[in-house]
């Protein structure tokens, strides 16, 4: 019995549509060249992204990213969860910088409830947000080396990222999925000695950045491989909705941490520089992220010094009910702008959640930027665009 015999009408339609979509990318077109299927299982796709490239020799004629192999339906799952439960789910969207996923959602819920976390909670939130950025971007800094064939940097990245994770764990209890944010504040205060230890870790991360400078950025081979590869002009980057370091590497000076003063976070109390690079190539994207990591350590140190005393939780009812309304909050996450559009009908859980994830937009530029490059550059460009599969498919 085939699928089509037992299925209802809409199921049939969906099946045919799926087959057609598969056929479109699977078919060997009559044009000259070769179709190479990079992924879904491929060492360079950070998970299960599939990119269908049409090759002429080693030159790419066109490329078509096929996301969706890891779709977990978070937007729908959020609808059947209560507000406190959702933070544990959204931790898993961008799994490397998991804490940063919780923040915009909690901020949206707080906005709907008309409350704001106390200053100490805001400071600690921002510190952990930047810690998530470190945990995320340090791995990128090493992984870019692996994609280009240098094995060593990624081990250094894991080595030093471990300390960041240890710091996150000792305060929140979870290494990867902290689930530390609560509507109205935080779960727990910092344990004793955390601040001093954290400053040491920041020093370590800066040493790691220096090592990456020596190992990769300065290296002639690395520069030949990345300079002028995958150039995205500022106008194109804006057209495709690129955000985060990818946008800044194209020379657009845009960072919500600095540009959005209304957000209830502590960035306004820290003094930091937003780095941009005029080139817009793979090297620029790496370089901007490297500078950003250094900047993040400085932000954390400043906030740790200025940490105000006080409670970490405002007064919230024991059972959280969010009044009717809609709110959209976005923050500058490690990968770019992440936003939650929360619609509430006054229930225990949201009526609808729309999640804007940065990687989905960042990868949408792939067909444009991959046209005409060589196969090795496909890997370079994808690595430098830096996406997390969970962030694309969510």
């Amino acid at each position: 019995m085939s699928v089509t015999e037992t299925a209802s009408e809409w199921q049939k339609a969906a099946y045919i549509a799926g087959q057609a979509a598969d056929a479109r990318v699977n078919v060997e077109l009559e044009a000259e060249g070769m179709t190479l299927n990079i992924g879904p299982q491929h060492p360079a796709t950070h998970g299960t992204l599939r990119i269908v490239v049409r090759l002429d020799g080693e030159q790419v004629l066109w490329a078509d990213p096929v996301p969706g192999y890891m779709h977990r339906g978070y937007e729908k799952l959020c609808e059947v969860r209560k507000y406190p439960q959702i933070t544990t789910l959204v931790n898993r969207i961008d799994w490397l910088g998991s804490f940063a996923n919780e923040v915009p959602f909690i901020l949206a819920a707080e906005e709907l409830m008309g409350i704001e976390a106390p200053p100490r909670a805001q400071y600690i939130r921002t510190i952990f947000f930047e810690m998530a950025r470190l945990a995320n971007i340090t791995l990128f800094l090493g992984d870019m080396g692996v994609q280009l064939g240098a094995l060593t940097p990624v081990f250094y990245a894991f080595r030093d990222r471990e300390h960041v994770l240890n710091m996150i764990e000792s305060a929140t209890g979870g290494r990867f999925h902290p689930n530390y944010d609560r509507v109205g504040g935080l779960k727990d205060d910092l344990p004793k000695g955390w601040v001093a230890e954290c400053k040491e870790v920041m020093h370590r991360i800066r040493t790691f950045c220096d090592q990456m400078d020596d190992l990769l950025v300065g290296n002639e081979v690395f520069q030949t491989r990345t300079r002028g590869i995958g150039v995205i002009p500022a106008a194109v980057a804006q057209d495709y909705g690129l955000t985060g370091a990818n946008l800044r590497a194209s020379g657009v000076d845009h960072d919500l941490r600095r540009d959005d003063p209304n957000i209830a976070m502590a960035w306004k109390h820290a003094d930091f520089k937003v780095w941009t690079h005029p080139d817009g190539d793979s090297f620029a994207r790496y370089w901007v992220r490297l500078q950003e990591t250094r900047e993040a350590t400085k932000i954390i140190e400043q906030l740790l010094d200025g940490l105000p005393a006080g409670p970490i939780m405002t007064k919230v009812p024991r059972i959280i009910k969010v009044p009717e309304g809609e709110a959209y909050v976005q923050t500058e996450n490690p990968l770019g702008i992440m936003g939650y559009y929360v619609v509430s009908k006054g229930d225990l859980g949201p009526f609808r959640v729309k999640i804007r994830t940065p990687s989905f937009n960042n990868i949408s530029i792939a067909p444009w930027v991959l046209r005409g490059v060589y196969v090795p550059d496909v890997i370079t460009i994808l690595a430098s665009l830096y996406f997390i599969l969970g962030d694309i498919d969510r």
Partner: protein
């Protein structure tokens, strides 16, 4: 950027690392102590449980199974009426499903659930990951004291 920056600096980094001590911890032979707040395994103190089912309802992936029944307990005072009491028959946590979010520990109103940093309870068979109340009770002795808080922190009301 000279020749030194372009080619030799990186070699210097790897050579320097070669001479420094490796950071690997050879796991079964030596162990790192997890932090006191680490979410390793949930311990359950059976005396404190009142079968209120809050943890079951709040669990985001519904991995806690509780069964209980009402029973008549002996009266508090001589000659009084027998009290109604909830008796816990079954308290299982399926660690194959658990997301380790800690919501159950937080919502428990009577301090029956705790986090223990123990982590060595992997099983060959996935069904064995279902810990019953005896097994969960055994974890209680591994629960550490809550750590002192950083300067400037306000003590939580009714902190555990």
């Amino acid at each position: 950027m000279g020749f030194y920056d372009q080619y030799l600096k990186g070699l210097g980094v790897t050579l320097k690392t070669l001479t420094t001590k490796a950071v690997t911890v050879q796991y079964p032979h030596e162990k790192e102590a997890p932090t006191t707040r680490a979410r390793g395994v949930i311990a359950m103190l059976e005396e404190n449980c009142t079968v209120c089912m809050l943890c079951v309802r709040e669990c985001p992936d519904w991995c806690i199974y509780i069964e209980g029944h009402n029973d008549l307990a002996p009266p508090r005072r001589e000659g009084g009426k027998p009290r109604k009491a909830n008796v816990l028959d079954r308290f299982d946590i399926d660690y194959g499903l658990c997301m380790y979010c800690g919501i159950c520990v937080e919502v428990c109103p009577f301090d029956a659930l705790f986090w223990s940093p123990e982590f060595e309870y992997s099983e060959v068979n996935i069904a064995d990951l279902l810990h019953d109340k005896e097994r969960l009770g055994d974890w209680v002795q591994t629960v550490p004291e809550a750590p002192a808080l950083e300067a400037g922190a306000e003590a939580k009301k009714g902190a555990k």
